[in-house]
Symmetry: C2
Subunit: 277 residues, 2 copies
């Protein structure tokens, strides 16, 4: 693991790191905010998965999360949203697919399956690297995400409830099988429609449960709300299957990081309830 | 004045605006965060002047200031750091001079004097535009800045103490006449060395006073500290001339917005002391 940069911030450190990814067969970058508490002992960890077009720096620069993470003593980890500079011809140039749009799945289509394995990367490889290289208690792990990253956070938490103590999302893609973003990505990355449901939070929650309350914030002026996000599908599936969900809908807020920064403190406190007890 | 974008944030609005600048003879952009209080009455205003290479969005995206500005009810205004797309041949391509490096002065050299008048722009033109287009009490005006923008904030506050109720800076260039950044810019923008002292906070404070305490935060791992910033020169001039100064020096912090975001809350509260009473 190579340290690209490390800078002091809120009494802790903001760092950018790179390593050779086994899952994605190439270099991957991630950002870590390490709170002051990490200088004296092991701290809990919150992963944040970013959305389409974002990278490992977006959340750290735009969400304003470090202040509260510093206060609570939670480490923040932000992976990139896909591998980069792959040799695949159509992996760049489309903001909804390929680089910047890994969709937190393991590709099964021949063309993508060597490099696009963001599911394994985020679920297993990166937590292992964090556990080995940083002073963390990796059993105290939470996950949060935005849009495509909200999809990633919800599907990982529902599939591996034993790994994650807490989960939340901002404007998540909750039913990718039923919206254009998800259908396009899944049909290109995956061989078979039977594989889709394992990456669809609304499908997963029909037979899986997360032990804590899922917190979701959604802006009502989000231009993707009606066509790509559809939180009502997830809310209804949670209701039918007894999954605790706190879905907050906010008038006037859109899909941007201005929205995320307005409510990030609430999310950090939500995770702290589960990670610090 | 044209609205480029306006988005909801912390119960207020984050906006990007453009207008034809009389001072700079061309279009200029600026960002405004308008707190929720502005929906019900006039609010005080804090200008933030950014540093070399930055633009009108940098502070708004990276400093994390909106949360506390929303709470305190202070409008934030961030101008660009220079005019853009000027027809001047050597105004681009050098991060220390020209576009992105206006140094908050009025150029007197023939080549630059039509377009590079950031002093007039920030001191007069933009406050007038804000007063006309936003619900503000422009008599409650504070100014803050970073690096080159800290130089701008200090020089404006010292020259026009009647305009500004409060001033603060992060890692400011306090003595531009004595450091390479300032010498390069001043010798190119200005005709005569006699003009330099009006844009040099350390020179100004020898015969001018600001009525409130000047707050300055400086990181001690700032790579520009010894050669370009030299806060000790300003501190000594303040001491000799009875100017109240609160210079805080922080171990381990560097010159970045990670440093700024770590202490922006203190600056907003400093300005609130003067702007809200």
């Amino acid at each position: 693991m190579e340290i690209i940069s490390r800078q002091y911030c809120f009494g802790g450190t903001q760092g950018l790191y790179q390593h050779e990814s086994v899952s994605n067969h190439g270099p991957m970058r991630f950002s870590v905010f390490s709170p002051p508490h990490a200088q004296h002992g092991k701290v809990p960890v919150l992963f944040f998965l970013a959305g389409l077009t974002c990278n490992e720096e977006t959340f750290m620069i735009k969400a304003g999360a470090q202040r509260m993470a510093s206060e609570l003593g939670i480490m923040l980890v932000a992976p990139d949203t896909s591998p980069r500079n792959t040799p695949i011809d159509d992996a760049i140039g489309d903001w909804e697919f390929g680089e910047g749009a890994g969709f937190y799945l393991n590709a099964t289509q021949e063309k993508y399956r060597r490099h696009f394995n963001m599911h394994d990367y985020v679920a297993t490889e990166l937590p292992d690297i964090i556990a080995k290289n940083f002073p963390v208690d990796i059993t105290r792990l939470g996950i949060c995400g935005h849009s495509m990253g909200g999809h990633g956070a919800l599907t990982l938490a529902l599939r591996y409830p034993e790994k994650y103590r807490s989960v939340s999302a901002f404007a998540p893609i909750v039913a990718p099988s039923h919206v254009a973003w998800g259908q396009k990505a899944f049909s290109k990355y995956l061989n078979d429609e039977n594989e889709w449901s394992q990456y669809d939070a609304t499908e997963l929650v029909k037979h899986k449960q997360f032990k804590g309350t899922i917190l979701i914030d959604q802006g009502l002026d989000d231009k993707f709300l009606a066509n790509q996000l559809k939180p009502e599908l997830f809310a209804e599936a949670c209701r039918q299957n007894g999954q605790m969900l706190h879905l907050r809908q906010h008038e006037k807020y859109d899909h941007s990081y201005w929205f995320i920064q307005s409510f990030i403190e609430d999310h950090l406190k939500h995770h702290a309830m589960y990670l610090l007890t």
